[in-house]
């Protein structure tokens, strides 16, 4: 398994939408390298014949009947919004072309 380096961390930080300074990237790369190294035995622990477990207690077919429940007013929906306008959440431009 490949070691994790600074460029990897920069790429991951972009995917995760967390801006990081150069120093942060360096520090994070060092810390993660140690952690990743410590968990690498996991990939060799189980053979191909071992199924994956995604839920600790297996349940199936948990459904909800198609019956309308409660809703918020627009005011409630927007009560925690950092910015809003015209009963909608307001966000900065999506593209950088100002």
């Amino acid at each position: 398994m490949a070691a994790i380096n600074r460029d990897d961390v920069a790429h991951l930080a972009r995917l995760a939408h967390i801006e990081m300074s150069a120093q942060e990237l360096d520090r994070m790369a060092g810390e993660l390298a140690v952690i990743v190294d410590s968990v690498k035995s996991v990939s060799e622990a189980a053979g191909d014949d071992v199924p994956a477990t995604s839920h600790p207690i297996p349940l199936t077919n948990v459904f909800r009947e198609d019956v309308v429940g409660h809703t918020f007013s627009a005011k409630q929906a927007l009560s925690g919004a950092p910015d809003s306008d015209d009963n909608r959440f307001k966000v900065p431009a999506i593209l950088d072309e100002a």
Binding site: I18, M28, I57, L95
Partner: protein, 524 residues
């Protein structure tokens, strides 16, 4: 119980069950009980050397609920008869669980000032039982940590030694209960966040079977591992609280469909005669503090004397559990925490320079809003799920989960209940492991397997370590859906130990000095 139990100092030391009895008998009112705890919070929680268990104190609402209980009880009749057994018994709630009318921060800057427009299912159930909610307790940010030092609002201190950590992530709930600021608290346990704080603060904590308690309204860290559970001073109190919050919830798809067993009865009819109790070979010995081992062995002796059969079981795949946990947990957390982006609620931070696009605002918000440990786990999880690494990391970890479950199955074929120390060490000093994430992660080595397999676990005080005089936790584990066994065995061990100590372990904890004022508390 003596006369002094109805004084404020006596009231706060009562177990929830004892307080409930006094409320029912009319010896004390819910308002008196609630006020006594609010006063205690005001005395010991704030200030430089305060416990700092609470992030928010909910005095007004708690007293209003208490007054309502008192009024109903005074009026008598059917409504008084219908009051829940724990009506009027106050409780603290970990600040990872959403509550209407109080802020919920998850211990993070990114949610500072946020008020949930809805109640968690467990909170609805507390309200239905008319239990006054004293406030919200401190935690490692988004429950990521084992010391509560990763809270954005300062660390919580261990009431046994204010320079030591109270465990984590639920250090606030455990410390609040240990410091007699609340008789009961709610915690959440993803890798040990209820049990490990319980161990290092001399309290009782239970992680129920996965799905036993609804997760609706608990801010998710790792969805397939998280579970809400009770934090108390006695095994019976945990059973009582588990019974209030547990049971099926249609809003949680992973909620177990069947009704809860009678956990309170199990705690009251404790019995270990003929029971096979399995020592997990891999969860003691090397790496465990000598004082922890001693207390653990002492508990085994007591159980043996009470008629239990002690057997040894081996769970060889537990060696991979910590690694698997530190892949699954960050993977799910990286996804669960994506929603904190400064669009719909919480913090929004604008980039200091460059283009002001939504992408950059999200990036700046998350950079400023999340602490280092949260960022570390998000990046680690993003890595484990990313193209080309999924099979090696997340996929492999899910397979280890199967192996850990198989180990449990084999162990439970030989033993009715398993036993181990809850944590390898007693409480360490504040700051001691803050710069060494890996050392911090090792605290959870004994508690993590239960989360991976979904089985229930209970930690109860096992005495004080000889070398440092700090509490040691004993962990009991039962098969999935057999939470009642934990209460049955836990109640016996608790009784045997208290007999040996001549009273509850917490009676030996040092008196806390007045640390703050009511004003500083309300200002929180």
């Amino acid at each position: 119980m003596t006369e002094q139990n109805t004084t404020a100092a006596g009231l706060i030391r009562l177990s929830a069950a004892a307080l409930a009895e006094k409320l029912r008998a009319g010896e004390v009112t819910a308002v008196e009980a609630t006020q006594a705890h609010l006063d205690r919070i005001a005395t010991v929680d704030g200030g430089e050397r305060g416990v700092n268990a609470f992030l928010h104190v909910n005095a007004e609402e708690a007293l209003a609920v208490a007054a309502e209980v008192d009024a109903i009880r005074a009026a008598g009749g059917a409504e008084a008869e219908a009051l829940h057994y724990l009506a009027g018994v106050p409780i603290a709630v970990k600040d990872l669980i959403v509550t209407v009318g109080q802020p919920t921060t998850a211990g993070s800057k990114i949610l500072e000032g946020w008020h949930s427009p809805y109640d968690a299912t467990v909170v609805e159930r507390l309200r239905a039982a008319k239990m006054p909610i004293l406030g919200k307790t401190n935690l490692d940010e988004f429950a990521m940590g084992s010391s509560t030092e990763h809270s954005a609002y300062g660390p919580t201190r261990n009431p046994w030694d204010l320079d030591r950590i109270p465990g984590g992530s639920g250090g606030g709930s455990a410390a609040a209960v240990a410091a007699f600021e609340a008789p009961l608290a709610l915690g959440t346990d993803t890798g040990g966040s209820i049990r490990q704080p319980g161990a290092v603060t001399g309290t009782v904590g239970v992680k129920p079977t996965y799905g036993s308690v609804s997760r609706y309204g608990a801010i998710a860290m790792a969805s397939s591992l998280d579970q809400i559970g009770p934090v108390t001073r006695t095994v019976l109190d945990s059973a009582l609280l588990h019974q209030v919050i547990g049971g099926h919830d249609p809003r949680d798809s992973t909620s177990l469909p069947e009704p809860l067993a009678d956990l309170v009865a199990a705690a009251k009819t404790g019995n270990v005669e003929g029971l096979r109790i399995g020592i997990i070979k891999e969860l003691h010995g090397e790496g465990y503090q000598a004082g922890v081992e001693n207390r653990f062995n002492e508990s085994l002796e007591l159980l043996k004397e009470a008629g239990a059969e002690i057997v040894e079981v081996s769970c060889p795949n537990f060696q991979y559990a910590l690694g698997a946990y530190y892949l699954i947990m960050p993977s799910e957390a990286s996804s669960n925490l994506a929603k904190f982006d400064g669009v719909r609620y919480g913090l929004r931070v604008l980039p200091e320079e460059g283009p002001m696009t939504i992408e950059r605002v999200m990036g700046a918000t998350r950079a400023a809003g999340f602490g280092d440990e949260v960022k570390r786990r998000i990046i680690l999880g993003t890595y484990a799920l990313s193209a080309g690494y999924y099979d090696a990391y997340y996929g492999s970890a899910q397979k280890v989960r199967t192996l850990v479950q198989r180990d449990f199955d084999a162990a439970f074929a030989k033993a009715d209940v398993l036993i181990s120390p809850t944590a390898p060490t007693t409480a360490f000093r504040l700051g001691e492991k803050l710069d060494d994430p890996l050392a911090m992660y090792l605290n959870d080595v004994a508690t993590i397997p239960a989360n991976l397999a979904g089985v229930p676990g209970l930690s109860l005080p096992g005495g004080l370590a000889d070398e440092d005089g700090l509490p040691v936790g004993i962990q009991l584990l039962a098969p999935a859906r057999e939470d009642a066994r934990l209460y049955r065995v836990g109640a016996v061990l608790e009784a045997l130990l208290e007999e040996k100590w001549g009273g509850p372990l917490l009676a030996q904890a040092p008196e806390l000095a007045t640390s703050g004022t009511l004003e500083t508390q309300e200002a929180k």
